[in-house]
């Protein structure tokens, strides 16, 4: 046993150096060379300022911006406290919250057409989901158009421009990145 313990200790020391230190440093080095944007967190700048990350959702409250999904991350969209509600489908709290969300959503979007999109009244798993469904984006178009004084058609076109289909035609779900859509809204104004 003692012999094994010595081997184990030596193995630990040298493999920690190799796998725990050298490996991540080397990977970081290569990544910075090959994919610097992604490696640094896919940061997005507007007017020379970093306004967020392409892959991380943000809290939107103003009517002239597209809103994302409900978030249980911290006080909402806090990347340092990611996670979902973890409420059960039979949870009264969840059903009440969903009910409230439906009411609030309808109130915010009085002119919206079609049924309430599921993703807008449910919390994402990470709490920082950067995307919404295409239906969810369409649902908000009348409000945005009104708030920004744009034609609905123009906003629809903008949305369509930002729709990401299923990867390779079958992976995942079609979606719209909220931050990118909102950035292009601002760009359209100017």
């Amino acid at each position: 046993m003692k012999k094994h313990l010595v081997t184990a200790a030596l193995f630990t020391v040298f493999s920690v150096i190799a796998l725990g230190i050298v490996y991540p440093l080397v990977m970081t080095g290569i990544s910075m060379l090959v994919f610097p944007a992604q490696a640094n967190g896919s940061l997005v700048t507007a007017n020379g300022k970093v306004v967020g990350s392409r892959i991380i959702g943000q809290q939107w409250t103003k009517p002239q911006y597209f809103h994302g999904r409900l978030s249980a991350a911290g006080k909402g969209y806090d990347p340092t406290s990611t996670g979902g509600t973890n409420l059960a489908p039979t949870s009264k709290k969840l059903i009440d919250a969903t009910k409230a969300a439906v009411v609030a959503l309808k109130k915010e979007n009085p002119d919206a057409r079609g049924p309430v999109p599921m993703d807008l009244v449910t919390s994402s798993a990470s709490g920082i989901d950067p995307d919404i469904s295409v239906e969810a984006a369409y649902y908000q178009v009348p409000r945005i158009a009104k708030a920004r004084g744009l034609s609905s058609a123009a906003v629809y076109t903008l949305v369509d421009h930002h729709v990401q289909g299923r990867t390779l035609g079958f992976l995942g779900e079609p979606r719209v990145n909220v931050l990118e859509l909102n950035l292009s809204l601002d760009a359209a104004r100017s």
């Binding site: 040298f14 490996y23 990544s31 490696a39 979902g84 489908p89 969903t98 599921m118 920082i128 989901d129």
Partner: protein, 566 residues
């Protein structure tokens, strides 16, 4: 359910089936000491490493010695991580200045990573320094996976060898599993993940103000390098709390596919390695077939439940599948698929919150663990877990054809049965008894995230997950001193309590003579055997948990249909 969902699952599984052979073939070469195509690069490193660690690669070990080496490595690894967690505040790469962990949290986390469980009662992004993540947690991700592979290979040698006392050298198997299998795939995989958007940096968190002026702290860290080994080694411990649901760890549907492939890759390959090493490829494919049936069944059930959605939400005039606790880019299908994959194996990474799954959707990952995570399984552990079921099935089948049961020429006798039963007892004992104690204690139920039957499911899930070293959770449940200590103990016993009897079984089989096959020997690769194997797995494995599950997800589903909320 829609066609895209099924196509997604079919393409994923097709890729798994396609990769099983080349990966398995490569691994059989690695562990039978053959020269592989990576030898020119890694050969000198391997030999240098042996010299540094004073390992004599030519020494073979008996099963007892092999286990001793595994335990010695476990003790050192446990102490190392514990000390690291208790001292991280004073160590480098800690830009957020996270403090040291408390004793019970450190105990729970270090056992968790040692045992390949990666159960997390903490949030990575607000607890662990970069140094802890990469030199502590990610290192364990490598070596705990390699340990599992090494043990599985030793078990396979036990079956393949005749009249031998030894099962190989643990240090060599450990080194080769790491160097030739885990490292090369991680190098490539990590880079692909960075390409897809997973961060790989050492920055402090980036404070930004959004277009609306909303303040946000963009997290960073060496994520990609850890993410890939977390999946490949079926560890599952997230760099951040939301795990692979977080767009940091899993930004796109393509990264999602790659991560799922990484989870199944080695387990599926090992079935081929197995066939190769026992010199009968059909045996490996038979296991692959049995596993495939369980995978398809699990996915279909989970997908159906999630796609059907929550009737209580539908009453609010909101249509669609259950998106609570799911990411828009993955949707229902990829989430149900990931949940199935992560619990078919001992991975435990999640891309959606299992706690918010529909009751039957959540029953699938729970049942997968209660069956023993034998669908490709944890790297290594899945194969030897399946072998326990095979031994039990062979015994019953052998009796039914009127011969002393034998598997691949080895007679299954008293000692083999004792050890197989001992191993089979680990899961019910550890998954049920602590659950029973916990529901009676205040400390056990204080941190539940839900009421009613679902709260009970959270406890049941927690102990199934820790026993089976999965690490996924019905994450509404929070940690406390009691749960830190108990789940820590359960993870340790779940890992080593199973590993030791199975190694003893391998030792016993290795020492046996091989009986030649005759017409009187039933074929352990025939469809009827696979059918019987599945029957034994489902009936013995699952019936153990039916009463408990009836009070958890099953009754919750029935209540949901009646519109009850809690």
């Amino acid at each position: 359910m829609n066609t895209y969902g099924w196509v997604q699952a079919a393409v994923f599984f097709g890729l798994v089936a396609l990769l099983a052979k080349p990966v398995g073939l490569y691994m059989s070469g690695v562990f039978q000491g053959e020269r592989t195509f990576l030898a020119p690069v890694f050969g000198p490193i391997e030999r240098g490493f042996y010299r540094l660690c004073r390992i004599d690669p030519d020494v073979e070990m008996s099963w007892v010695e092999y286990v001793m080496a595994v335990l010695a490595f476990g003790v050192v690894g446990l102490i190392y991580l514990y000390v690291l967690l208790r001292t991280q505040a004073w160590l480098p790469f800690n830009p957020q200045h996270f403090p040291n962990l408390s004793a019970d949290n450190a105990w729970n986390a270090s056992v968790s990573f040692l045992t390949n469980t990666n159960w997390q009662f903490y949030s990575g992004e607000s607890t662990m320094s970069y140094f802890t993540q990469m030199a502590g947690l990610a290192w364990h991700n490598f070596v705990s996976a390699a340990t599992g592979i090494a043990v599985a290979i030793a078990v396979v040698r036990g079956i393949a060898r005749t009249d031998k006392k030894t099962l190989g050298n643990f240090w060599v198997d450990l080194t080769r599993a790491t160097l030739y299998v885990l490292v090369p795939i991680s190098l490539v995989g990590a880079l692909v993940l960075v390409w897809q958007g997973v961060p790989q940096n050492f920055h402090a968190y980036h404070d930004v103000a959004s277009l609306e002026g909303f303040k946000q702290s963009i997290t960073g860290g060496p994520m990609a390098s850890q993410e890939i080994i977390k999946e490949l080694g079926t560890n599952g411990g997230g760099f951040v709390n939301a795990n692979s649901a977080s767009p940091n760890e899993n930004p796109t549907p393509l990264s999602n596919l790659i991560e799922m492939l990484a989870i199944f890759l080695i387990g599926a390959g090992l079935t081929y390695t197995y066939g190769r090493m026992v010199r009968d490829q059909r045996q490996g494919w038979a296991l692959f077939a049995a596993m495939s049936v369980l995978f398809v069944g699990g996915f279909a059930a989970s997908y159906a439940a999630e796609a059907a959605g929550n009737p209580l939400v539908h009453q609010l005039a909101v249509a669609g599948g259950n998106l609570e606790g799911k990411e828009q880019r993955f949707g229902v299908a990829a989430s149900a698929l990931f949940a199935t994959v992560t619990t078919d194996t001992s991975c435990g990474a999640v891309n959606a919150m299992h706690d918010s799954f529909m009751p039957l959707g959540g029953l699938v990952p729970l049942a997968n663990m209660q069956l023993g995570e034998i669908v490709f399984g944890g790297v290594g552990t899945g194969l030897y877990g399946m072998i326990v079921f095979v031994v039990l099935t062979v015994f019953i089948a052998g009796l039914m054809v009127g011969r002393t049961p034998e598997y691949l020429g080895k007679k299954i006798e008293r000692r083999e049965m004792q050890l197989a039963i001992l191993a089979a007892l680990v899961l019910p004992v550890l998954a049920l008894i602590p659950s029973a104690v916990s529901v009676l204690l205040k400390a056990g139920t204080a941190t539940l995230g839900n009421n009613g039957a679902h709260g009970f499911s959270e406890i049941l899930y927690m102990f199934a997950s820790t026993t089976e070293n999965n690490g996924s959770a019905f994450a509404g449940i929070g940690g406390n001193l009691y749960l830190n200590l108990v789940t820590g103990a359960v993870m340790l016993l779940g890992r080593y309590g199973f590993l030791i009897p199975i190694m003893a079984l391998a030792g016993s089989l290795a020492g046996k003579k091989s009986v030649p096959e005759t017409l009187g020997t039933f074929k352990t690769h025939s469809p009827i055997f696979v059918f019987l194997l599945l029957g034994v797995i489902v009936i013995v494995g699952l019936l153990t948990f039916v009463p408990a599950d009836a009070l958890g997800p099953i009754v919750e589903q029935l209540q949901l249909q009646q519109g009850k909320v809690f």
